[in-house]
Assembly symmetry: C2
Homo-oligomer: 367 residues x 2
C-alpha cells in the first residue's frame, strides 16, 4: 500500500484544479452542499426519515455532513463498509444485503457488539436461519424483510411471503423483526405502496408490529412522498448526481457535483481525440447510454469507447472548437458511485480551487 | 489504508477455496504457468522478443515469472505503474502512453534516472517536444513512434507521418528514436506489416535506423509471426485469459486461469438467482457480449445484469440443476485485466488449495 499512499497527496487546499494531474474525479463543494440540503428539505417536508446510502461517496466526513443536515442513520451494502463507518463513529447502520456464510456472520456478530443500532435485511429462510444461529437473545439483531416490488433483484415476491418471513424472524429470540424494505424500480411508487399496504395488513392480522417501511433510490426520489406507507427513504447517488440522474429527471447538469478531469493526449485525426480517462477512471457502466459521459463545453463530442487507460472521442459532429492535445476537459460520468470506487482519494473544490482531499475510506470493500 | 490492509489476509497457503469469503478472484497456478510457457514458446519459435504487458496482473512476482520464461522487458501503461515495477527491480520498461504535462514529465525524468532502459511512445509533435524539454543529452530518453494501423485509438495515421515524427525525435539530443509501435485491431497482421514495411523504407531513405518494430495484443497473438517486420510482440491478457479471449479463438475455457468466486445470496424466483458479485467484482465491461461472464457448471445460466454488489442471473434456460442459496459458483469474467484492478490482493491456488496471496501492487494507478 506504500505506493498508493504516496498518491494521497494528489492535491492540497489552495491548489488550482487546472494544475492537477489527470485523470482525477473532483467534487464541487457548493453543489454537494446544495444536493444534501435539497433532499433533506424534501424529506423533512414530507416527514420521512432519511437514511443516506454511503456507497456513492464512501467517505465518513460526507456521511457526517448528511447527518448534520438531519439524516437518521446510514445505509451500507457490505459488512466491511459498515466496519469502516462504525470506526468513524456511526451507530445506526443498516446493511441492505443478505449475509450468508460462517466467516461473514461471525464478523457481523462482532460488529453488532460495537455499535448500538445495527440492522440487516433477509429475503429467505436460509438467511434468517443463518442470522438466528449467530446472534444471542441478550442483544438481538434487527432484521428487515427485503421485498421485490418490481426492481427485479433480491426480495420476497409477495406480501404473503413477506409476512411469513416476518413471522419467522419474530419467533427467534436472537432476532427482532425490524420492518419492510424495498429497492424499487424507477417510477415504482404505486407498486411499493400496494406491496407495503397489503403486507402491513397481513402483519396486523397476526399481531406483528412493523416499525419501519424503508423505501429507496435516487431516480424517483421526488416520488417518495407518494408512498404514504413508508417511514424512511434511502438514497445515495443524489449527493453527487450523474448523467443517469439527469436523464431520469432527478436533477440538471448544474446539480452534478462530480466531474472527472481528463487530458487530451492524442488527436490522431481531425475527428478523433483520445483522453487519458478510460474504464479505470470512468468505468464501463453504460446504464442504458451508448457512450461514456457528457463533456462540459463540448456537447457534440461523443465518448464512443473506453479501454483501461484511454477514452476515444468522436468529434465529427462538433461544429465549433475542438479540444486540442494537452487540453484538460471535464466529464460528467454516467454513474458516479462506481467512479468513487476506483480512487483512493477524492479532491473537493470551490470555484476551481481545492478545498480538501478526503480518503475514500470504504473503497474497494466487496464483502 | 489501514482498513484495506486488514484484507490482505484474505487467505493463506493451505486454505481450501471453498472456505474463502466471496466475491474473490482466484488464479489457477497450473493454467497460469501453462499460459506463460505456451506464449513464450511461440515467440521463441518465431524469434520474436516478447514484452509482457503488466496491466493484466499488476504483480511483480508474475512479471518475474514471465522474465524467467524468456520475456525481454515489460510494458506498462502509466508512469506510476512503471514506478512500482522499477522499485521491484525491473530495468527495461516501455510505457505505451503519450506523456504530457509538467508534473508527469518531471516524474518520468526522475524514473529515467533510476533505471537503465526506460522507453516511451509519442504520436505527435506536442508529445515529442514536451519530452525533449524534460530530458538531457547525457542520458537521452528512447521514444518509439506509435502508429495507428487500424486499431483506431492513438497513433500517427500514415507511414509518412511516422517517418516525419521519427525524424523529429532523431534530431533532438535529449531523445533517441527507438522504433515503431502499434496496438493493432484484432486480425490486423497484414495492416501492421504494410504500415511497418512502408515506414521502414521511408526511414532508410533518410538514413534513420529503426531498431524495434513492436506489435501487440492477445486476441490475434498467434498471428504475430505473420508480421515479419516486427522485432517484438507485447501482450497482457494471455497470462490469465478470459471469456473475450475464448471468443477470439486465442484459447479455450480450460486455459482461463482466473475465475471469480461468488455466492448465491438470493433465489427470489425459480428463474432468478442473485449473487454477491456485481460490477465492483466483475466490472461492467461487456466487450461486445450482452451478459457478464460464463458460470462454470451452469452453461445455460445468464448473468443478465450487475449493480455494484449484486449480479442477477437468469436461470430460465437451465434444464438441469439450478444453483441454491449459499452455493458458491465460479465465473470466467468477460475481461480479466479490469477485475485485477478492483482487488488489493490476488489469491492463487492449485487444485482448489491456496498456494499464495500476492498484493496487486500496481492496482488503481491511473496516471
Amino acid at each position: 500500500m506504500t505506493h498508493n499512499e504516496a498518491f494521497a497527496v494528489v492535491a492540497k487546499p489552495g491548489d488550482n484544479l487546472v494544475d492537477l494531474s489527470t485523470p482525477r474525479p473532483i467534487i464541487d463543494e457548493d453543489r454537494l452542499a446544495a444536493n444534501i440540503a435539497r433532499i433533506q428539505s424534501y424529506m423533512d417536508a414530507h416527514h420521512l426519515n432519511f437514511r443516506p446510502h454511503i456507497k456513492t461517496h464512501k467517505i465518513p466526513a460526507l456521511a457526517r455532513a448528511q447527518a448534520a443536515a438531519g439524516a437518521k442513520g446510514i445505509n451500507c451494502q457490505k459488512i466491511t463498509e459498515a466496519e469502516v463507518f462504525a470506526s468513524a463513529g456511526f451507530e445506526d447502520i443498516l446493511i441492505t444485503f443478505n449475509i450468508l456464510g460462517t466467516e461473514k456472520l461471525a464478523r457481523l456478530a462482532a460488529l453488532h457488539e460495537r455499535i448500538s443500532a445495527l440492522k440487516v435485511v433477509a429475503d429467505s429462510a436460509v438467511t434468517v436461519d443463518g442470522l438466528a444461529a449467530h446472534f444471542a437473545a441478550r442483544k438481538p439483531l434487527t432484521v428487515l424483510v427485503e421485498c421485490d416490488t418490481g426492481g427485479g433483484r433480491c426480495g420476497v415476491q409477495t406480501p404473503a411471503e413477506a409476512a411469513a418471513l416476518a413471522e419467522r424472524i419474530a419467533k427467534v429470540p436472537s432476532l427482532v423483526f425490524g420492518g419492510l424494505l424495498t429497492y424499487p424500480k424507477p417510477g415504482g411508487a404505486a407498486d411499493v405502496q400496494r406491496f407495503a399496504t397489503e403486507t402491513l395488513a397481513l402483519l396486523r392480522s397476526v399481531g406483528i408490529d412493523c416499525p419501519v417501511v424503508s423505501n429507496g433510490g435516487t431516480p424517483s426520489l421526488f416520488d417518495a412522498h407518494l408512498v404514504t406507507a413508508a417511514t424512511e427513504h434511502r438514497a445515495g447517488t443524489y449527493i453527487y448526481n450523474d448523467r443517469s440522474m439527469v436523464r431520469a429527471g432527478h436533477c440538471t447538469e448544474d446539480d452534478c457535483a462530480m466531474h472527472v478531469l481528463a487530458t487530451v493526449v492524442s488527436r490522431p485525426t481531425a475527428d478523433r481525440a483520445v483522453i487519458d480517462a478510460g474504464s479505470k477512471a470512468l468505468t464501463s457502466d453504460l446504464l442504458g447510454f451508448s457512450d461514456f459521459g457528457t463533456i462540459a463545453g463540448y456537447p457534440q463530442a461523443v465518448i464512443t469507447g473506453l479501454s483501461e487507460e484511454h477514452g476515444v472521442i468522436d468529434l465529427s459532429r462538433c461544429t465549433g472548437k475542438r479540444p486540442e492535445i494537452g487540453e484538460k476537459i471535464r466529464i460528467i460520468p454516467n454513474h458516479t458511485c462506481v467512479v468513487s470506487n476506483l480512487f483512493d482519494t477524492m479532491v473537493f473544490h470551490r470555484n476551481g480551487v481545492v478545498t480538501r482531499v478526503e480518503e475514500v475510506a470504504a473503497r474497494g470493500l466487496v464483502w
